[in-house]
């Protein structure tokens, strides 16, 4: 059933030769080509690569928002697509944080965070309690009753993160979630995300531009090269957890960062 060496191990997420081509009137873009990747339960995998190399496309294919042109996405041993439709039971395990916050301007911060719970029929008191907890967690305590338009870009992004966490998804898919944050907040959110991933035992696929961030958070870093998006290399990060700020000054950490940076630079 699995393509790993150990037959007892079922990977949480498997990409079996994913290819994606966008066709339009102006021609076709080969965004992804033959992506093979197997991600274990509770594993944290980052995807790095230059702008336009297909990171978002890969994440959307995994989330079932875009159908792959070829290949198969398998979650917990089940195929994500059933014919032309997404198996909603499989896709229901995902929590997605998009590159844009995509908040609903008609809902307050609290109701935005609670949206996934609302859809699942959780009662008002319970979902608001949970949302308030998460607002606190992402540093938005005191803004629960604000509307998105009253927030800064970084604050909106944090609401989107809280929203994705609200129903404790088994698999977190995050597309440059901290891109709009300042360095300080970003560092804090990185620590927080590490803690959340460990306590909720979530599997995480994390897209970022930032090599240091990728190495800090990940068990493995996937380097995607552009046109078409292919896996250039997969680099394991063997640094014990929990990692703190000081982990970044360790020689092993810096060696991995340097190695990845060189590989990215070589693309020119």
């Amino acid at each position: 059933m699995t393509d790993t060496d150990d037959p007892t191990r079922t990977p949480e997420l498997e990409l079996r030769g994913i290819g994606k081509e966008f066709r339009s009137r102006s021609g076709s873009t080969h965004a992804l080509s033959d992506i093979k990747l197997s991600i274990d339960r509770r594993e944290f995998v980052s995807v790095i690569g230059r702008s336009g190399c297909g990171k978002t496309t890969l994440l959307r294919v995994i989330a079932g928002l875009t159908g792959p042109t070829s290949g198969e996405v398998v979650i917990g041993g089940r195929s994500l697509w059933r014919g032309k439709k997404v198996d909603s039971e499989v896709a229901g395990r995902f929590g997605v944080v998009f590159q844009d916050a995509n908040l609903f301007p008609w809902y307050t911060v609290l109701d935005n965070i609670a949206l996934p719970l609302t859809l699942r029929g959780t009662d008002r008191a319970r979902r608001h309690a949970r949302a308030a907890e998460l607002a606190e967690l992402v540093g938005l305590g005191g803004f629960e009753r604000s509307y998105p338009r009253e927030l800064s870009g970084g604050m909106r992004q944090r609401v989107a993160i809280a929203r994705a966490l609200s129903y404790q998804p088994k698999v977190l898919l995050m597309d440059e979630p901290f891109g709009a944050l300042d360095a300080m907040t970003r560092e804090r959110m990185n620590l927080e995300l590490q803690r959340i991933a460990q306590t909720t035992e979530a599997t995480v696929v994390f897209v970022t531009h930032d090599i240091t961030e990728a190495v800090f958070l990940s068990d493995r870093v996937v380097h995607l090269s552009p046109r078409p998006g292919r896996i250039r290399q997969v680099r394991g990060v063997d640094i014990p957890r929990p990692r703190d700020r000081d982990a970044q000054s360790e020689p092993e950490f810096q060696r991995i960062v340097r190695e990845l940076r060189h590989a990215l630079d070589e693309e020119g």
Partner: protein, 264 residues
């Protein structure tokens, strides 16, 4: 904060000032050029006429007729406009098939049809209601159509990633996202409904403020003509602000409401 409050309250001070200035200019203009009472009556005589009109129960009967026609026509336009707008917005095929007809119907000067309606439905309320509905229908329908088409793809992705049902997607996303467009359509629509009603009353019938305008004209009663126009303007403002108030109540989160409150 003090600045915000000032900006918020500004119209309440500036509007009376502007009105007073206009009235003064009007009075001065008449005195300077000796304009005849029929062409442009003085503010004083208009006020006298207005007071007389307001005290006459007959006037209120006419006003009620005009309001009934405009509101009924407008409500019909809202129901039909929203239904058609949603249908056309949801079905690209239907929209494409009907587009030439819609454009044609929009371009036709609809007030030209009033004599037809009078022939078909008589001089009573019906022909005016239909006229009001017809004029109000297009801005509402077109705005709703635009609204349905304008649902943000990113927000759709959020609902899809949450495997939301169709009903939930409608309730939490499509409906809320289209509401501001419905209100924009209604704000334009109510004005059009009033125009339709008044033009309808000009052309046929024996009731309504539009009819009163025609009567005043035939009697060569300039001050009363002006006074009726003031009443019509007041009715228009009243209905417009009713819609506007409803909008503030229903979509307080929206940009247009937000900036209207001066908190920019």
């Amino acid at each position: 904060m003090g600045q915000d409050r000032f900006v918020k309250l500004l119209p309440w001070f500036s509007t009376p000032v502007v009105i007073v200035l206009l009235v003064v200019a009007w009075e001065l203009f008449i005195r300077a050029f000796g304009v005849s009472e029929f062409v442009l009556p003085s503010p004083g005589t208009v006020l006298v006429s207005l007071v007389a009109l307001v005290q006459d129960p007959e006037t209120w009967h006419h006003a009620a007729i005009t309001a009934t026609e405009a509101i009924t026509g407008f409500l019909a336009a809202v129901v039909l406009g929203v239904a058609t707008g949603v249908a056309l917005g949801k079905s690209a095929l239907l929209e494409r098939a009907l587009r030439p007809m819609i454009i044609a119907a929009q371009v036709v000067p609809k007030v030209a049809l009033i004599p037809l309606f009078v022939i078909w439905f008589g001089f009573g309320l019906t022909s005016k209601i239909i006229m009001a509905a017809m004029l109000a229908f297009f801005p509402i329908m077109l705005n709703v159509l635009l609204g349905v088409r304008s649902v943000d793809p990113g927000q759709r992705d959020v609902m899809r990633s949450l495997t939301a049902s169709r009903w939930n997607t409608f309730r939490h996303l499509e409906f809320k996202s289209t509401l501001p467009y419905v209100f924009t359509g209604m704000e334009v629509g109510i004005v059009f409904a009033i125009i339709g009603t008044i033009v309808g009353e000009y052309l046929g019938g024996s009731e309504g403020l539009g009819y009163l305008v025609v009567v005043s004209l035939n009697q060569l009663d300039g001050p009363q003509l002006f006074a009726v126009i003031v009443l019509l303007a007041s009715l228009g403002l009243l209905l417009y602000f009713a819609i506007n108030g409803l909008k503030r109540l229903v979509i307080p989160w929206h940009e247009s409401v937000y900036s209207q409150n001066g908190v920019t």
